[in-house]
Symmetry: C2
Subunit: 248 residues, 2 copies
């Protein structure tokens, strides 16, 4: 079967950019989810429908390849497709293109469905999936995901952040893009203005709550131009990520 491909155009706003005038790393996730929300609505299986059933989609993992971040004022086409479904998991791809049709950003992601009252993963109901016309498969091949911080690693930076009211979106979750804000902040403006991320792998382990204080830890592997990141709430791992960098 050919899965339904959806696309939408978006003009990059100044408040979606960082100091470099490029689309900020956290905002990449918001634009991706915007496209998938719009697809779901166009198929009448949007947030309203999903929430009315007491359910919600959660993202488990993103693998993001960045060729070039678009700058303020550029129009990007965001293409998305929900490709494969098993009983419990779904994968979705996102591709960002510039006006010349060049691929800018490529994202593979893994989703699951949650019972919002019981706060646990459930089988994906047929009516939540059928509209996407996905391939129904036995098993979804996952990428390797981020490399964990090990006990041998030296923590370069360690900083606490209290969750803010404006970090919570209308799903009553911390907006996924905020994890990236906490993760990259400690690298500092000198590093972030002179380096570009080429690959970001992130895995979400446990939801951060509305009144939590998170700790963001960073390990730097200068030789490999790679950083490893971990978001902790007390001793509990919330998310971990690996980012590969090049000099800008």
């Amino acid at each position: 079967m050919m899965s339904q491909v959806y696309d939408t155009n978006h003009v990059i706003k100044y408040y979606e950019c960082d100091m470099t005038t490029k689309l900020s790393i956290p905002m990449i996730l918001n634009l991706a989810i915007l496209a998938s929300n719009l697809q779901a609505e166009s198929l009448s299986i949007g947030d309203d429908f999903v929430h009315a059933h007491g359910l919600g989609w959660i993202v488990l993992q993103y693998d993001i390849q960045i060729k070039r971040r678009p700058i303020v004022g550029e129009t990007v086409k965001i293409e998305t497709v929900a490709k494969e479904f098993t009983s419990y998991f779904a994968n979705r791809d996102f591709n960002f293109y510039d006006e010349q049709g060049e691929l800018l950003i490529e994202i593979h992601s893994l989703f699951a469905m949650m019972d919002m009252t019981k706060r646990k993963m459930i089988r994906i109901p047929d009516e939540m999936a059928a509209g996407y016309e996905p391939d129904v498969v036995k098993r979804i091949k996952r990428g390797p995901g981020p490399e964990s911080i090990s006990s041998d690693d030296e923590i370069l930076h360690d900083q606490m952040y209290a969750v803010r009211y404006t970090d919570i979106d209308f799903n009553h979750h911390v907006n996924n893009s905020r994890y990236f804000e906490w993760m990259i902040d400690g690298l500092g403006a000198d590093f972030l203005n002179s380096h570009e991320a080429t690959q970001i792998q992130i895995r979400f382990e446990k939801e951060v709550g509305q009144n939590d204080i998170v700790t963001s830890q960073i390990v730097l592997d200068s030789e490999k131009m790679r950083t490893k990141h971990r978001i902790m709430v007390d001793d509990q791992l919330s998310a971990e990520a690996t980012i590969n960098w090049i000099e800008a």
Copy 2:
């Protein structure tokens, strides 16, 4: 003379909303400035032109009246006009309308121009103003502005925030909307989900720097349903605001 009125349509995105599914208070400012940026670009006196002269616009004061905050998916028309200029000051109005033409949000603002190297206010050069075809006046009437926190006031809440990399926009300033994030956060989700701001007056006194840690202080006047806010860097006042609330 009739000043140039500009308008632009904008669809409210999910990541521009808070838990209530309404456009977040901080994001109101971003959408207003988006409209003024687009007007400036349409007149070829946009950020690129202004920055090439070593200059930048700064906002000194906003007075925001909110009738209704638009919700996710709504299309709003944002209308803006640079009305009056003196040698040093300019005022600009913003009106947000819904698809039925109802006025949602009304903003009066006061701008000035800064020499970015010397970090001080300068006379507004003619070529930065003429395109707007404003009324040139001797004096701009200012609103009363926010009510300051006095030494008699009891501080309800006091919290520190470190400026994050993603708080800085491509003007290398803290994005103005972040002051609102710091100001309202301490009110907490219970209050913010059950109250609506009807008027917000904010005055910016001194720019927050990239590596600053700010303190956000809140005073609550329950009888008048009003909160007073102050952003401090050490003992220096950075911004103050008054917000009037009604029960939602």
